[in-house]
């Protein structure tokens, strides 16, 4: 059932995206924050440091670590003693954490980490795309992508509730586009402390490192056991599918704000063309859709909020009657010439009775602005696919051919 996102203008303030996230983290009452500075994540951790310096986060330790690797490693320890943990990073920092990402999800230690999405070097580039988190898709972390500041702020509390659920117990990344969302000032309802206290219960894990009940964490599992642990992780991801939906609904009941659960839809009713996208480009696409709908173009948007677990059923239900699906990817799987959303979408339609063509566009890499005109051209090309079938399944758009 679609829900109205009731924004209370009286409660809104104009703040930077990073501040809204830091404030959201504060209201979730974390016990340990551990982070290493990296552009464009820095404002979040600076704001949290200021909250700490002003004594505004009780019962919390802030660890100024010497690397991202240690930022997440420290949280492995903190989570294992039962602390609610937080970190934030991006790009190179996330890549450096790669090994720990597997470790933390393998040990089933919940945590929330904001990924301020940014391109990976080389060449060095500090601007936004989503290659960083997409490249960590198999590490066993829940991945949620936000459209605007309100959503990334609210998603922080949602992510804790999902991650800490006893049927899930998997760490979660909440992803926001670097600069585009992290450095934008816009009106937002800062996560309300009283409502968050109501929404997010105290983290009380069943098992912890405790001298009174000395358990061992991180044992050495041979081929007789390893497979079963992987199976259980996958089960947890499947459980998360429902939990993400439930938590979005619970959030709506308490705060009155809703952005979809696993996915969200925008004017998909009777849509011939369904655009699938994640993150901040959603807003621009919605504007383009409104414009084209006024000209009776039947186009709609399927916003993917959860990339891991991948919401196969939810997507199938929406795209079933479309004539073409268009995926937008700020990433590329090199060697496949496709973005991840394109690949995943095709894969969940195969072996089903849904026979809708999928075309993919890779764009917005390394901070290249995604303009209204680009989205319009993509929709034009989608029409051409409806008329004459697929010519190019997946491609870069807005390539500067003249310098190639």
């Amino acid at each position: 059932m679609p829900r109205e996102n009731k924004l209370d203008k009286e409660k809104m303030v104009v703040v930077e995206g990073s501040y809204a996230v830091a404030h959201a983290v504060k209201t979730c009452r974390p016990n340990v924050i551990s982070a290493y500075p990296i552009t464009p994540q820095t404002h979040i951790v600076e704001d949290l440091s200021q909250f700490m310096a002003d004594g505004e986060i009780p019962n919390c330790e802030y660890i100024n670590v010497e690397s991202e690797f240690s930022a997440l490693s420290a949280l492995v320890g903190s989570a294992a003693v039962g602390a609610r943990c937080y970190s934030a990073t991006t790009a190179q920092g996330l890549a450096l954490m790669h090994e720990v990402l597997f470790n933390m999800s393998g040990m089933r230690l919940p945590t929330v980490m904001t990924i301020v999405n940014r391109a990976l070097s080389a060449p060095i580039n500090i601007w936004n795309d989503q290659q960083d988190s997409i490249s960590q898709r198999d590490t066993g972390w829940i991945q949620l992508y936000a459209e605007d500041i309100q959503e990334i702020s609210d998603m922080t509390a949602q992510a804790y509730k999902i991650s800490e659920d006893k049927d899930v117990l998997m760490p979660a990344m909440t992803c926001m586009d670097g600069f585009i969302l992290s450095h934008v000032y816009e009106p937002v309802v800062l996560l309300e402390q009283d409502l968050t206290d109501k929404f997010l219960p105290k983290y009380e894990p069943e098992y912890t490192l405790d001298p009174k009940d000395p358990l061992s964490y991180g044992a050495f599992a041979d081929p007789n056991y390893y497979t079963e642990f992987r199976y259980l992780q996958e089960q947890a991801m499947q459980n998360a599918l429902k939990k993400i939906e439930d938590v979005a609904n619970e959030f709506y009941d308490i705060y009155g704000r809703y952005y979809g659960g696993l996915i969200d839809e925008y004017r998909t009713e009777d849509a011939d063309i369904i655009i699938m996208a994640m993150g901040s480009v959603i807003g621009t696409v919605k504007d383009v859709i409104d414009k084209l709908r006024n000209r009776n173009v039947k186009v709609g948007l399927l916003k993917v909020r959860a990339f891991r677990p991948f919401p196969a059923d939810a997507i199938r239900n929406v795209v079933r009657d479309a004539k073409v699906i268009v995926t937008l990817d700020k990433n590329i799987t090199l060697g496949l010439n496709e973005g991840a959303l394109c690949t995943e979408t095709k894969s969940i339609l195969y072996n089903t009775d849904i026979n809708v063509p999928v075309i993919g566009y890779m764009l917005g890499h390394g901070g290249r602005d995604i303009k209204v005109d680009t989205i319009e051209r993509i929709i034009d090309e989608a029409h051409e696919v409806i008329r004459n079938g697929i010519k190019t399944e997946s491609q870069f758009i807005d390539l500067r051919e003249e310098i190639l």
Binding site: P40, F179, Y185
Partner: protein
């Protein structure tokens, strides 16, 4: 929706100007959005920042290519940056300068206005910080924004004496430019 582009140099507070404009616009009951042109510029380098103001919630996330208004914090930028790039014909270009608008050879059909924000800053604040003063001038020249909203935003951002003096300077710039309103 109105789109504003602010040209400045790193360290001159152009990002803060865009932000304060967004805060003030929201206080006026509009929706707003402010963001820098994200770069690795250091102090002194030319920088850009943007503000959108609208009666409806703003979803658009592109940079601003065809602004309604352009604010230039430092006239020396005109030599090195195309400050009028994409500026709408019925738009306005506001330059911090003690010269008359006609002295500037800028390729635009939009109206050019100048305000000697540096002088106001030195007279009232005692330091050549012009970002907030130009917002006062902008409010006066365009009527897009209430001067009180800008002054409140500035006072909140810079509490105490600094904010008070800035507010005084904003009022001064507002009064001067109100007469030149387009």
């Amino acid at each position: 929706m109105k789109e504003i582009r602010v040209h400045g140099r790193g360290g001159q507070g152009s990002v803060t100007a865009a932000e304060l404009l967004a805060v003030a616009a929201f206080a006026d009951g509009k929706f707003s959005q402010a963001f820098p042109a994200f770069g690795v510029e250091r102090r002194g380098a030319p920088v850009l920042s943007f503000t959108r103001i609208s009666d409806e919630p703003i979803r658009l996330r592109t940079q601003i290519y065809e602004p309604d208004y352009v604010i230039v914090q430092d006239p020396t930028l005109i030599e090195v940056v195309d400050v009028a790039s994409g500026l709408k014909d019925d738009g306005m270009l506001l330059i911090n300068s003690d010269f008359d608008p006609e002295t500037f050879d800028i390729d635009t059909k939009a109206k050019i206005l100048t305000v000697n924000a540096t002088k106001i800053a030195l007279d009232i604040i005692g330091r050549p910080i012009v970002n907030t003063i130009l917002l006062g001038a902008f409010a006066g020249a365009t009527g897009e924004i209430q001067p009180e909203s800008i002054m409140d935003a500035v006072k909140k951002r810079f509490p105490g004496k600094v904010g008070e003096r800035n507010a005084e300077a904003i009022q001064e710039a507002y009064n001067m430019m109100k007469e030149a309103r387009i």
